[in-house]
């Protein structure tokens, strides 16, 4: 990764600029930047926060050096807007499960959206939406993805730091199990028979849920070599109903390719 401060998008010698954009999402990932309380002043010292509507009303014109994108594409208008944002940003980084995999709202991808609109809205004619919720990378090239629901503040600070220095960010793509073992958490899948997605999920959260005797819900999406089929077969053998497993993999990252394929296969087997 080249050093972002060497030549700015604006061509000036001032600080590199950062912009934060929102699509279909809950604001939680943007909030992770504001949550970086200890580092926020240092960040503001190093980079110009040019466009971040959740934090300040002043909005500078593009182009920008770093663009952080939260949310998924669910409307024609958004599909057009992300193409313009891509043109405006040197480094485009997607943040969170919505932007990287379509988010929880991608559950619509398995249903009839037209039917939802008829039932939910008083005047369905006002609603203009796509039939699917899809990841940003399905629409434009993305330079880096930060996973999570929400993303981890420390990983976001690491990403910004690495862009400023010009090195590869330390964002591991191995399993949550490694994080459990680093902190000494006893495996909930083996010792308690809980159906946990940790072995197939990418690390990043610090393995929070298993440390509270709960299963991993897959917030960080599939790990690099996720073998979801083998894990689900094992859980099914020991008595987990198949419909529970479908719901487990179709969660915040259900539309990420590895989880999507496993969920579809499980559903097909139960119907077939």
């Amino acid at each position: 990764m080249s050093k972002i401060s060497e030549q700015h998008a604006t061509g000036s010698t001032s600080k590199p600029t950062l912009a934060v954009f929102k699509f279909a999402s809950c604001y939680g990932c943007q909030l992770s930047l504001l949550d970086a309380e200890d580092e926020l002043l240092a960040i503001a010292h190093q980079i110009e926060i040019a466009y971040f509507l959740e934090a300040r009303t002043r909005a500078l014109e593009g182009p920008y050096d770093i663009g952080l994108v939260e949310g998924s594409i669910t409307t024609e208008h958004d599909a057009e807007r992300i193409r313009e944002i891509r043109r405006q940003c040197r480094f485009l980084v997607t943040i969170g499960a919505c932007a990287t995999a379509g988010g929880i709202q991608a559950l619509r991808n398995w249903s009839d959206v037209g039917e939802f609109i008829q039932q939910v809205y008083a005047t369905p004619g006002y609603i203009s939406t796509l039939a699917t919720s899809t990841a940003i990378t399905d629409h434009v090239p993305v330079d880096f993805e930060l996973r999570g629901c929400p993303i981890n503040t420390a990983q976001l600070v690491e990403l910004i730091t690495s862009l400023l220095i010009g090195r590869t960010p330390r964002v591991p793509n191995y399993s949550v199990c490694i994080e459990c073992k680093l902190r000494g958490t006893v495996c909930v899948a083996v010792a308690q028979g809980i159906s946990c997605l940790g072995p197939v999920t990418q690390a990043g959260c610090g393995a929070i849920c298993p440390s509270f005797n709960r299963e991993c819900f897959g917030c960080y999406g599939p790990q690099e070599l996720a073998n979801v089929t083998s894990l689900c077969e094992r859980y099914e053998e020991r008595g987990e109903p198949r419909d529970h497993l479908v719901r487990l993999v179709r969660n915040f990252n259900g539309y990420a390719p590895a989880f999507r394929a496993a969920g579809d296969a499980l559903e097909e087997e139960s119907h077939g």
């Binding site: 073992k181 083996v190 010792a191 072995p199 094992r234």
Partner: protein, 370 residues
């Protein structure tokens, strides 16, 4: 027993020992005898670990749990060095080794053999690890002689147990009415002499302790070669005859792809293995770039970063990574360190979420090459 804990504390040791937490027997700070898992046993099988109460079980009738000495001598995360930018230059803040020495109650014979293997890695090569050395020199080991084996145990195959005969300061044998203690070092004797109420046992007690170990060894041999009772898992065994060459001569065996269909590449086996020693070292800087920490973290041959070279990731498939792990553990380890990397503790079998069993994988390859 309480006297031993007190004597160790009195001598300045931080004492840890086995206790029940989150459905397992794990190591944690030990203040009192009451914390030990009296009456608790662990039932283990591929991908399964369950605690059970048993009327006749003593303080140490569980076997090995998810933790091992590894996490105390070679901690999961360690800052090796810190650098501070000051007056235009980098000031090095060297690593401090000022933790109190550790006393561990509970390691089994297999664990001591695992520690000896890690000693070879961290202390006996051309580069000595200063952190490991400091912690290892301070370590006081109160080993426990097993009188029970889990179905995943196979120390009898690896010649690493069940009886611990060296590598401890003290070794406890739990008998029905008392503990027999063997002294393994000068400081072990010194601590024992300071324990209130201990007295040299009659020779018959020593015989009873030794009988208990031999009985277990015989029963392990027998349980691993005869069919188990219905519903009960058979005890593992690993045929080590020409094992190094068996695997290295079968690098293209179809079994590697078959095991990869089940393997999750989650790295649990390597994390719980008491001999696996891979780590990743990174320089972690803050936003101002004025402070840098050099951090070492456990890693695994099941991760992409492990085989990342300038041209990219060399081992891109689960099959390649599983093969790397098993052939290193059982074959090339011998070339590198003059012993097998496996001590037969069975942790990798128990803590694999899908129950992959290395003894079964080796047997399957051996079967087709007969």
């Amino acid at each position: 027993m309480q006297g031993l804990i007190d004597a160790l504390k009195e001598d300045g040791y931080r004492v840890i020992g086995p206790q029940v937490a989150d459905g397992a027997v794990v190591y944690d700070e030990l203040e009192s005898l009451e914390q030990l898992p009296l009456g608790v046993i662990d039932e283990q099988d591929g991908g399964v670990y369950r605690l059970a109460r048993r009327q006749d079980a003593g303080y140490f009738d569980h076997v090995v749990g998810p933790h091992s000495l590894k996490r105390y001598l070679f901690p999961p995360q360690e800052t090796l060095q810190q650098l501070q930018l000051k007056d235009g230059g980098w000031r090095v803040e060297p690593q401090q080794f000022d933790e109190p020495p550790l006393a561990v109650i509970g390691p089994r014979s297999c664990d001591l053999h695992a520690m000896a293997i890690q000693d070879r890695v961290f202390l006996e090569g051309p580069y000595v690890d200063p952190g490991y050395r400091a912690r290892r020199e301070g370590l006081f080991v109160v080993s426990v002689q097993c009188r029970r084996a889990a179905a995943t145990c196979f120390c009898h195959s690896m010649k690493t147990g069940p009886r611990a005969d060296h590598g401890f300061d003290l070794a406890l044998s739990e008998l029905d009415d008392c503990f027999a203690i063997e002294v393994g070092s000068e400081r072990g004797g010194r601590i024992l002499a300071a324990v209130d109420g201990w007295k040299p046992g009659a020779p018959t007690i020593v015989d009873r302790a030794n009988d208990q170990s031999s009985q277990l060894e015989r029963s392990m041999e027998q349980r691993s070669t005869t069919e188990a009772a219905p519903g009960a898992p058979k005890l593992r065994q690993l045929d080590t005859q020409d094992l190094r060459d068996l695997l290295l001569n079968n690098l293209d065996h179809p079994r590697w792809e078959q095991v990869a269909d089940r393997c999750l590449a989650c790295a649990n086996c390597t994390m719980v293995c008491p001999t696996c020693f891979c780590s990743s070292v990174s320089e972690v800087s803050d936003l101002t770039n004025e402070h840098v920490r050099r951090e070492r973290t456990w890693t695994s041959c099941f991760t992409a970063e492990h085989s990342f070279l300038t041209s990219g990731v060399v081992r891109n498939s689960t099959a390649a990574r599983y093969r790397q792990w098993l052939t290193h553990k059982l074959s090339t380890w011998i070339d590198q360190f003059d012993s097998s990397g496996c001590v037969g503790c069975g942790r990798c079998i128990t803590w694999c979420p899908v129950g992959i069993d290395l003894t079964e994988e080796v047997a399957a390859i051996r079967e087709t090459t007969k």
